[in-house]
Symmetry: C2
Subunit: 328 residues, 2 copies
């Protein structure tokens, strides 16, 4: 397997990506890594037989759009994308500008035949231990049509079938009420279409309040709403973590309390720590494209690489190609 | 002050509203209550001098829309709204069907001159102790235009000025990125309009991730997105509460840990417990209209009544009338 890594561009740059790559290699000896970035920052990687350093002098800023990326010919991001195409790689990972990376990979790798829009997808933890719920699109699009949401339902369905081995995933539309007839005009339209074509596993609307209860396998949403859901969840989890720390630091007794309760709390933090899911995958393009969090540390970047590894080994792109063809 | 209460219709009906009213009266002797519902369920209230029982035999179901409410002439909700108009009351509170209550009050009380759409508003807790952030619309609308979001900014501005005594509230648009140019077409349009008219306190976009950090005073969003934000936040808070309980129940040591840490944790729960904010107000109509949570218990219903009380005593409706006139 060949994996291309854009090592620059996130908040922590090579300080996160280099140790992240090393941690990943420790688990996956069989992967050939193409590390793209300023070569003087990648020296630590040179000692690995299965790492190739690809020098690129420019760094795409975090707020860059697709055009910026395409213009910066010597940026680590664009060089990584071109390397992916040149060597026919299995996966590409970047923690740089979300908008820039998603648009540039969509432009260069192209959408799978029959797919109207790519969708960014990530699994969320739920109240049920070990059960994940997959939400898409969480931010690749600003605006979607009902027909695009129907395609997202199909992409999510294949993703959960292949990645979590669920035979008939339960699919819901994210809405402002559970009843039929609730929702924005786009959600109402998607509901109608999914019902008309008897989409297997389609169960109707779900409110954001119950999204993490563990009932749904796939939750379908437009990219703008999905992004608000994703970031709202992250924000509250961060606020609660902040408050928990303060609660334990209150006095010597609460600190002693912490010593006794910490095992359970470590589990909570791990479940809710979005870093452990590491990356979101762009579904619908010709290749495994994984976007790590902009503020990735070494651990979360290695998790993003894990995501890319699992996607590539499960041949998700081929399954989507077949699935979309069947449905056309 | 005269306050009309729809005592029926929520998940817990009079089991929540009757003790809720009694708890409220304990703090506010000066309020005259009109309790609308099945009189045999309201007998406990009859002993209070300042409570009038208004018999209504029908109950609006939780999924009812505006038409259902208008059709059910003897429902506690419609009788409450008519009572509000007949006696020229100061406030009305219901924990029944959100859609039905919001639409029926908008129809019967009418929008304030110059207001295009009413917005549901509630304050959220933030990372900064004691600081709240006011988000609107959290669910009165399925779809909004840029011009409507601009009006929501103005309504939110007045609400925070009058309710929290903030001189120049910091106003943000909820979006999928902080930079100008981010957002759905509606959010981008609202950004442009707010900038063009130099809205005082307008600071640009905010991501959902930072919404509860305590920087913003007002966050403006379309009703569909706002509802996803509200319910997403509630869902995670509920999931974390669930996990915390499990962490403490793990073994005898963690239970001892709880004894030492519980004071801090009680504070966390109170901060995040949406019940303590109790109700959301419908801004933009001719009257103080407060919607309690559908699953209100006595405590949260009395909090919703508190919200109505504060709104009425701060003359929020008059301030909005003046504010909208000035801006017209």
């Amino acid at each position: 397997m060949k994996m291309v890594i854009d090592t620059m561009g996130s908040d922590n740059g090579t300080k996160a990506t280099v140790p992240g790559i090393i941690a990943f290699l420790d688990k996956h000896k069989d992967v050939e890594i193409y590390a793209v970035g300023k070569k003087e920052e990648l020296e630590e990687l040179a000692k690995f037989d299965n790492v190739k350093i690809v020098d690129a002098r420019d760094v795409v800023p975090m707020e860059a759009g697709a055009l910026d990326v395409m213009r910066r010919k010597d940026s680590s991001m664009l060089v990584a994308i071109n390397t992916f195409l040149d060597i026919n790689a299995d996966a590409i990972v970047s923690a740089g500008s979300t908008g820039g990376f998603l648009s540039a990979t969509t432009l260069k790798l192209k959408l799978i035949d029959g797919v109207e829009r790519a969708a960014l997808v990530t699994p969320f933890p739920t109240k049920i231990k070990g059960k994940k719920v997959t939400v898409l699109d969480i931010g690749a699009n600003n605006e979607n049509t009902p027909a695009q949401l129907v395609q997202f339902a199909k992409l999510g369905n294949i993703y959960v079938q292949k990645l979590f081995n669920v035979k008939e995933p339960k699919i819901y539309l994210l809405s402002n009420g559970a009843e039929e007839g609730k929702g924005s005009p786009v959600v109402k339209g998607a509901y109608k279409l999914l019902k008309e074509e008897n989409m297997p596993g389609f169960k109707g609307n779900i409110e954001a309040r119950y999204a993490l209860d563990g009932e749904a396998d796939v939750i379908v949403t437009g990219g703008f709403d999905g992004n608000i859901f994703l970031k709202g969840v992250e924000g509250v989890a961060s606020m609660m973590g902040h408050m928990m720390k303060a609660a334990f630091k209150r006095n010597i007794f609460s600190m002693i309390g912490y010593l006794f309760a910490r095992k359970g709390f470590k589990e909570i933090q791990e479940t809710l720590d979005y870093k452990s899911t590491g990356g979101a995958m762009l579904l619908g393009v010709n290749g495994v494209v994984v976007k790590g969090h902009g503020n990735s540390d070494a651990y979360s970047f290695s998790c993003a690489m894990d995501v890319a590894y699992r996607m590539a080994t499960s041949h998700i792109v081929e399954h989507i190609k077949e699935g979309i063809k069947e449905n056309a």
